[in-house]
Symmetry: C2
Subunit: 205 residues, 2 copies
DNA sequence: ATTTATGGATACGATATCGTATCTTACCCT
DNA sequence: AGGGTAAGATACGATATCGTATCCATAAAT
């Protein structure tokens, strides 16, 4: 696996990247079933020989795409925790979470993953762990270490974190997925503020 | 449209139902792209002639399936509101919501809808309105009429309802979609109780 | 009982799609 | 500049798929 990439020249790595980039657009916009290899080829140019050299089959191409986009998109879920006012930090995390979750790229990724989850269980699991779950684990860690100082009655930080993320999502994510209706940055801010308002109050002793 | 069904005999209606039932399993389990008309035929038996008589093409069959399953599954979101203790009613609504959302049938429906939303925008909109949105509207109505009596500081019932439904979902729905991990009835009950605990406290004056 | 309509079996046409193989061109290195 | 390698163009095989058309059996109706 690593061997495959070791003996690629700089140019070949670039070419591989071009193919991956073009294919990403197609697979994420049209889905796995509606994207064909010929389709990829028409967009990226070149020949089948080259395409199949870098990606032995359609599934491998899809897998590579999902892994790359997952890494890029989902890494935004766990920014370094800049210490600040507790309430403001929560609001920021919620707003950022919603912003990422409803970004065009994440929605496309989500759609593709949901559709193909049964056929790519490993990819699906990876997405789940590095996406929503990682985001709420990140929050849970924060809650765990700051609950006492802020007089919060939090017995299960993981559950509370999931509650918070869920409350922030509300129906907004559904709208984005089914309707293409994504919130503005100002809206995400207000939604996160409202969630923090309610949940901080709800958790307080 | 109605005309089409008027001149069907009793037997034909049954036959149509059989086809619809068998096709439903395939489309919901395998998705639109991986289900073929020949595939449907092999399961339901009979001939193409009959299949295409009742459903002029693949898209029409899919549409009919989604509409039928939507009606059946999503109607469970809005049970008649039996008056009772406010807190208990909320817990019941949350638990029921989570139960329906993570049922095998709803997960399959959700998967199919997410995957095909861009290609069947009307279906997607219908699902959104009669699914998640209807459930939270139902709750919003309840909150609107019971907030004062229960000394709740609820300025935006729709937002609060969405918060609550989201908090109940937490990451559970994601797990069901990506991992096939569905909660037991006892777990849904506990999750809903926890959400009510937090949010009622959060909304109280 | 004969005719008519209905449904089953299946052949068929047209196109699509994955992945391989062949042939030719362009590029690189010495 | 020339030989060798990588890559482009594209033909090809095998199969699949949608939807139509054809042929035959069976049931219903007169």
């Amino acid at each position: 696996m690593v061997q495959d990439e070791i003996d690629l020249t700089e140019k070949q790595i670039l070419r591989r990247g071009e193919i991956l980039g073009s294919a990403t657009k197609l697979f994420l916009n049209e889905g796995y079933g509606r994207t064909t290899m010929d389709n990829v080829l028409a967009l990226v140019g070149g020949s089948k020989r080259t395409l199949y050299k870098y990606f032995p089959n359609k599934e491998a191409l899809f897998t590579a795409i999902i892994e790359q986009v997952s890494d890029r998109v989902l890494s935004a879920f766990t920014p370094p925790l800049c210490e600040g006012i507790f309430r403001e930090t929560l609001i920021g995390m919620g707003a950022r979470y919603l912003q990422v979750m409803t970004s065009a790229e994440c929605i496309s990724l989500y759609r593709a993953m949901v559709a193909e989850a049964p056929h790519f269980p490993d990819l699906a699991d990876n997405f789940l762990q590095n996406g929503p779950c990682r985001a709420s684990q990140h929050l849970a860690e924060y809650l765990r270490s700051h609950a006492k100082n802020n007089r919060l009655r939090i017995t299960d930080p993981d559950l509370c974190a999931a509650q918070f993320m869920g409350a922030v999502r509300g129906n907004v994510h559904f709208h984005a997925v089914f309707n293409g209706r994504v919130p503005t940055k100002k809206e995400t801010q207000m939604i996160s503020e409202a969630a923090v308002e309610t949940l901080l109050n709800g958790w307080s002793k």
